[in-house]
């Protein structure tokens, strides 16, 4: 891929916001495709109980790769990091409390 031609920046101040190059996007896609194949392979294997955990971790890595490279979280300023991680943290909170109820509801008494 030829290096991108000179941009016609008008002389505006500092919106120096680089964007991922085509090659890096292709490599990210390749990584994501590999992870998707891995998820399917794990899905089709009969590993039993831990199959769920493996496929969810693969899905988590896929979404991490996707958000870091495709959604350009890598170069975003720390505020965007805070927003993204607070969303995930709050869903974690909800899971933590609701699922604890479903695991401990039958422990009737101390």
């Amino acid at each position: 891929m030829v290096e991108s031609p000179h941009h016609d920046h008008n002389a505006h101040t500092g919106d120096i916001h680089e964007v991922a190059s085509v090659t890096s996007s292709l490599t990210t896609f390749a990584v994501l495709a590999m992870l998707a194949i891995l998820a399917l392979v794990v899905g089709f294997s009969n590993l039993g109980e831990i199959k769920v955990i493996i496929s969810l971790t693969v899905a988590a890595t896929q979404s991490l790769v996707l958000s870091l490279f495709f959604m350009d979280l890598r170069r975003a300023d720390p505020l965007i990091w805070l927003v993204a991680s607070s969303g995930v943290f709050w869903v974690g909170l909800m899971f933590l409390f609701i699922i604890t109820d479903y695991l401990t509801r039958h422990i009737a008494v101390l």
Partner: protein
């Protein structure tokens, strides 16, 4: 505690906008008279006009909710229901609940004062996304139409909590309309939240650091965090309930071994933080009003600011105290009870700091201050009675009784509504440029406080005696207290109509209020009374912390200086930074 804050030399380098002479004021262009076509109002992008749109629609829905409340209270005059049948009563209290919560309490301060004043307080020309701001009003009105529509086609009799399996299989009233209404109004509050967070982060004027933000902006920021993180869960819960009701089979369906408690978990995950969405803006207004009328710096600025954010965060971890006896596990009940005790502390800190602000102040009993004092009195009682319901042991007896009704009315009406009235009376001169009759406003504050106390104090006793919530018929021995409560309700009704009269009257008869009737600090008071369309001619620079009231000769000026130096005076001001040890 040594804090390096700029020692302020108050020699007046800069006079703010000169007080407009009445003649000059008559033909000054401000946001109200910049154009008066209906089109310019309905498609305005000016955050101030959107605030006024919200004010009008929110007050109308408050009247709707008030009528429903009047129906409920008059019906409870006699043990066998004075005026309503059983199902009519159920529809009345559900209408009162849903309209007051979703159409009044949640959108009122973020929609009216938040939209109007957050940009002005941080020195911005407008909200970050003006079109989104207008969209949030239209989405709110669309959602409100569903609520009003379901009122006229048979109402909803499930209570605002919509618990399945009653709502999904046994209720024959229009749950779907109400669910859709909740879904859409929830979307509107998400849009407001995104707007406020983006504005506070990205559009503060130079010098407006986080520790110089007015506490109202801190409270609005914390409220937007909750709205942003909580509302989507309610949206998906209402959606799941609607699918279950439409297809007759569903997730919370006990015949399928589904668990109705799962709905309660997901519902309260939003609905408890929602009560903090309602009260935090009230805290913000009180943190503005008390320092101004005690003529004294706020006590513990950082404590109050971080208490707001603390309530927003811990508020998400306590919802289980609504389900102690609903079948939730004992282990999780303990976890939620501990966290509920934790979340009670920041509110206590705030109240202590407000009272400490009044210490050695010089207190003017202007109407906003009398409402703020009523707030402190009622909210303290409301907040502390919440402890009875947060503790595992005592909630067994008190759950779903009138004790709960009294507690949340003390906090919602005694806290939020009185704070809203305080905010309305504090900012009315700035919004409309007219001054209302302060004597009648003080009378209204007293009437509201007395009427409210008479209505809901007896309900604590009713609750402890075990009278259940949502009962149109009740045992005879509770009748005396219920009559007392209804009497209080009628006094309260008078108390709420009085502001409508003298505030609207002030639009016609009120004298011009001038730039700063209360001599308050803060950027919103440095611009002429009905503010010009673009708030600030030049972007202001802020040098001082927000509440600098304790200075020698009474505050007349906060420095307005333009970026490019062609402000009213061109002299360059650099405040002298000196070590200051704050008094204990």
């Amino acid at each position: 505690m040594n804090k390096t804050i700029p020692e302020l030399d108050y020699t007046p380098q800069m006079v703010p906008y000169p007080e407009p002479t009445p003649a000059e004021d008559k033909n000054r262009v401000h946001y109200l008279n910049v154009s008066d076509t209906v089109w310019s109002w309905l498609f305005t992008l000016d955050h101030k006009r959107i605030g006024i749109l919200y004010l009008v629609s929110v007050s109308i829905f408050f009247v709707f909710g008030g009528i429903a409340a009047a129906l409920v209270r008059t019906n409870l005059l006699t043990p066998t229901g004075a005026i309503l049948e059983l199902d009519q009563y159920n529809k009345a209290f559900t209408a009162h609940g849903t309209i007051m919560l979703f159409l009044f309490l949640i959108p009122v301060i973020p929609g009216v004062l938040g939209n109007f004043f957050v940009p002005m307080m941080i020195g911005a020309k407008d909200m970050a996304f003006p079109k989104l701001n207008l969209l949030s009003w239209y989405v709110y009105m669309a959602g409100a139409m569903f609520f009003v529509w379901q009122l006229f086609v048979g109402g909803l009799d499930t209570g605002w909590t919509l618990y399945p399996p009653y709502t999904s299989q046994y209720s024959h009233t229009n749950v779907l309309y109400a669910g859709l209404g909740i879904f859409i109004t929830g979307f509107s509050s998400i849009l407001t939240a995104v707007n406020i967070i983006a504005t506070v982060h990205k559009m503060r004027c130079p010098g407006m650091t986080w520790s110089r933000l007015p506490l109202f902006v801190w409270a609005m920021y914390a409220t937007s965090l909750i709205q942003l993180l909580g509302t989507p869960v309610l949206a998906v819960t209402v959606l799941m309930l609607a699918t279950e009701r439409l297809f007759g089979i569903g997730i919370f369906d006990p015949t399928l071994e589904g668990d109705p408690l799962l709905f309660q978990h997901l519902f309260w995950f939003y609905s408890h933080p929602a009560v903090y969405i309602m009260i935090l803006p009230g805290f913000g207004v009180i943190s503005e009003v008390i320092p101004c009328f005690s003529r004294k710096n706020i006590f513990g600025y950082h404590a109050i600011a971080w208490a707001s954010v603390g309530i927003a965060v811990v508020g998400f971890l306590v919802w289980g105290h609504h389900m102690y006896i609903a079948g939730q596990g004992f282990y999780l009940g303990m976890v939620f009870s501990t966290l509920t005790m934790l979340v009670a502390v920041p509110s206590a800190i705030k109240v202590f700091n407000w009272v400490a602000t009044m210490y050695r102040g010089s207190i003017h009993f202007a109407p906003p201050m009398s409402f703020a004092i009523a707030f402190l009195f009622l909210f303290t009682i409301g907040g502390l009675t919440g402890l009875h319901l947060g503790v595992l042991g005592t909630d067994i007896h008190l759950h779903d009784t009138y004790f709960v009704v009294a507690h949340f009315h003390f906090v919602m009406v005694g806290g939020m509504l009185v704070a809203w009235l305080a905010g309305l009376h504090y900012y009315w001169p700035k919004m409309t440029g007219r001054m209302y009759n302060t004597f009648w406003a003080n009378v209204a504050a007293i009437v509201v406080c007395v009427g409210f106390f008479l209505t809901f104090a007896p309900q604590f006793i009713l609750g402890y005696n075990g009278m259940p919530r949502r009962y149109p018929h009740y045992p005879e021995e509770f009748q005396i207290l219920n009559i007392l409560s209804t009497a209080g309700a009628s006094i309260q009704a008078i108390g709420f109509t009085m502001p409508a009269i003298y505030l609207l009257g002030s639009l016609v008869f009120g004298r011009p209020a001038g730039n700063n009737p209360w001599h308050a600090t803060g950027l919103e008071w440095q611009v002429p009374s009905p503010p010009p369309p673009h708030n600030f001619e030049q972007i202001p620079i802020v040098y001082y912390p927000p509440y600098e009231y304790s200075i020698p000769n009474g505050l007349k000026h906060v420095v307005i200086h333009s970026l490019n130096g062609n402000g009213v005076h061109s002299s360059d001001i650099t405040p002298k930074h000196q070590e200051v040890t704050s008094g204990s």
